[in-house]
Amino acid sequence: MNIPAELKYTKDHEWIRIEGDIAYIGITDFAQGELGDIVYVEIETVGESVAQEAIFGTVEAVKTVSDLFMPLSGEVLEINPKLDSEPELVNKDPYGDGWMVKIRLSDVSQVDGLLDATKYQEIIGG
């Protein structure tokens, strides 16, 4: 199970890459494996401010559908433009080309509440 040490995580199986007050968000390798083949990523919150824990989008796999929760409060600046035509990138490269949204944090202090790789590994029992 791939859990890069430099990223932050949530119990909802999202990863967060912090770059100052900007964050990139995606779902973890574990999450993509559990969901199976992803066929559609629906995110219609670009330009919106979304609170921590609120739903910012939905990911549709062949067998199942799952909501995406904001790990941190912020404004959704951009969605990964490649996912519209290649949603399978989330399966192939969850921490790279399969990123989902770029946000501007509204409260940087929330970062302290995120999980590190070791804690996340414990949660998934890896």
């Binding site: 066929v39 559609y40 629906e42 549709e60 062949v62 067998k63 559908v65 399966n91």
Partner: protein
């Protein structure tokens, strides 16, 4: 292993699937492989080459004796008197209130000797249902637990199995079968059936042969890159063909006529609820099972509401997926008869949005 897993039944191949790294899920009381590498990969494998499904969870009943045919005729909708030994037919058990107890395949093994193949989730329900009408004490044997079933499906399935048997497979037409030796194992029922629309055979045999036959298929299929296929792609494959799945598209509340199963509902004989179904056929069903493809983006799922352009409810989605072959979202659902015409614009309610769709004739995958 969790407590739940230990309560689940295993097939003769469960340990093998686990060792192969399959994702195992509870299904109809069994621990079954839903996927090995991924649903889309396995789907393409079956459509284009050949894959092997362990579907040993399916139920098999043997019915024997001079009155067996009468009992089968009484409880099923299709006309089993048309079958001669070596032939099979798709059928269903209608209930007494307009719905369907289960769908099944009836095999005519020899004169007065039949096999009924039913859904795993309904084994007990079906058994009790048939017994209810078994007034002449037809001998019934439930061989489900000792019978394995492998579905070898795909355009190369025939070539693979042919390497393992002397039976001339090209001489077995669709929905016909024969018994013979496969990979040295006797008494294998080789049936030209499947649930994928990809062509191929289903092999029924005693559990003791399961590992031998599985390994022989994998060895013989190497040149075609044969691989195991899970129940996940079995669902996407059947949906591309518009085949009904019991519990999704048909159930205790849906009539065979509404479900488009008029072709297996034969009024040449009397059967459970046949009088009422005959009236429904003459009057016309109020709702019909249709196929549709999404025009706007989204994935339809079982239970989602179907609405018209004004937002009125017109029906419900029974199955839906992103079709791996067609690369578009497809589904089936019941709609009022007025909306059942090909080309009708309908909408699927997905997370409170109306997603446009168009009614289509199934199969979605045209030959």
């Amino acid at each position: 292993m969790t407590t739940t897993d230990t309560l689940l039944k295993h097939t003769a191949l469960t340990d093998l699937h686990t060792a192969l790294g399959a994702k195992m899920v509870p299904f109809a009381g069994y621990l079954m492989p839903v996927q090995y590498e991924g649903i889309n990969i396995e789907h393409d494998l079956v459509r284009n080459r050949v894959g092997v499904f362990d579907v040993s969870h399916m139920g098999e009943f043997i019915l024997k004796g001079p009155d067996a045919l009468d009992l089968i005729q009484r409880v099923t909708s299709n006309d089993a008197s048309k079958l001669s030994p070596g032939k099979a037919q798709y059928s269903c058990f209608p209930n007494e209130t307009g719905g369907i107890v289960d769908d099944l395949i009836v095999y005519s093994l020899e004169d007065g000797h039949w096999m009924l193949v039913v859904n795993a989730s309904n084994i007990e329900k079906d058994w009790n249902w048939i017994q209810k009408f078994n007034t002449k004490n037809v001998e019934m044997i439930n061989i489900s637990d000792r019978t394995s079933l492998l579905a070898v499906q795909g355009p190369n399935a025939l070539a693979v199995i042919q390497k393992l048997t002397d039976v001339k497979l090209v001489e077995i037409p669709y929905y016909n079968f024969t018994k013979g030796k496969v990979a040295g194992c006797s008494n294998v029922l080789i049936s030209n059936t499947g649930y994928t629309g990809a062509g191929g055979f289903e092999l029924y045999f005693d559990n003791e042969h399961a590992i031998t036959i599985w390994n022989a298929l994998m060895e013989a299929g190497k040149e075609f890159d044969i691989k195991p296929a899970g129940l996940g792609c079995r669902d996407t494959l059947r949906l591309e063909m518009g085949f009904c799945l019991y519990g999704n598209d048909i159930d205790d509340e849906t009539s065979p006529l509404e479900a488009g199963l008029g072709w297996i509902t034969k009024f040449t004989k009397e059967f459970t609820n046949s009088a009422a179904l005959k009236v429904q056929k003459e009057v016309g069903a109020q709702r019909k099972l249709v196929g549709f493809e999404l025009i706007d983006k989204g994935i339809p799922r079982h239970g989602y509401e179907l609405i018209d352009a004004d937002g009125n409810t017109i029906g419900v989605v029974t199955s839906g997926t992103q079709s791996p072959t067609l690369q578009k979202a497809i589904g089936m659902g019941y709609v009022t008869s007025a909306h059942a015409v090909e080309g009708t614009e309908i909408f699927v309610k997905i997370r409170d949005k109306a997603i446009k769709a168009s009614v289509l004739k199934t199969p979605f995958l045209k030959k």
